[in-house]
């Protein structure tokens, strides 16, 4: 009963159990981190603003996106997915979310970034509600840990307004 095989089996079983425990503790240690991320978006220009032939409003704009998400990274963080969404209210829907830009941050070194871009995905409303519309730009992020549960949070930046006329 006490052969090399039995000892190896007992060792491997105990080793894997401890590994699972270590991973659980690593996941729990993320709670000690209290992140203080910051984000700032500047709308530089409305490139064009038009009504599509099917009647939906579409906007193209140029933005300056800057953010410091370094504090989201702990030793248990694999990567962070981040996206910028335009959020506004229309009579039909209480919340419209349109993703304008997104990115994957692979490491802490890349978590403080600054990007000058036009919207990566098309900003189209389901209707004709965008003229003079006030909207929020919200920076959403999903933290993907090496072990444990994914978490998500956001920063809401209010006070943006679209022009009254198509251009």
């Amino acid at each position: 009963m006490h052969s090399f095989g039995y000892r190896a089996n007992a060792l491997l079983t105990f080793a894997i159990t401890l590994l699972a425990l270590m991973c659980a503790m690593a996941s729990l240690s993320d709670n000690l981190n209290s992140p203080s991320p910051s984000a700032h978006v500047q709308v530089l220009n409305i490139n064009w603003f038009q009504k599509q032939p099917n009647g939906n409003d579409e906007v193209s704009m140029t933005m300056n996106i800057s953010a410091d998400l370094q504090s989201l990274f702990t030793w248990n963080t694999k990567q962070v997915f981040v996206f910028l969404a335009a959020e506004y209210e229309t009579p039909k829907n209480s919340l419209n979310q349109i993703s304008l830009w997104d990115g994957i941050i692979p490491s802490k070194e890349h978590a403080k970034f600054w990007i000058h871009t036009s919207n990566k995905y098309r900003f189209i409303d389901q209707g004709r509600n965008l003229r003079g519309k006030e909207f929020n730009l919200t920076m959403h992020w999903h933290v993907m840990p090496k072990t444990g549960k994914m978490s998500a949070d956001k920063i809401v930046m209010p006070g943006y307004r679209l022009p009254e006329e198509y251009r």
Partner: protein
Amino acid sequence: MDWQGQKLAEQLMQILLLAFAVVAFATGYFMASFQMMIITYFGGVALTTLVTGPNWPFYNRHPLKWLDPSEVEKHPKPQPSASSTSKKKPVKK
């Protein structure tokens, strides 16, 4: 591996693994590197396998002392032809 050796191997395995788990977690946490934790731990597991896997000589320092074969002749097996009472009690001579 003798009985004492088995006990020693089992205890060594558990203590070493637990110690390496603690060390690896601390290393990973303070170096802020998950990879470092994994490397340290698997190094420890490999070392523990080396220590407690093979049947090293120091697990055989308490060999079982078997009775001398001459003792068997002094205490022969009860014969099947013997009565039922003699089966229950060891044969005395």
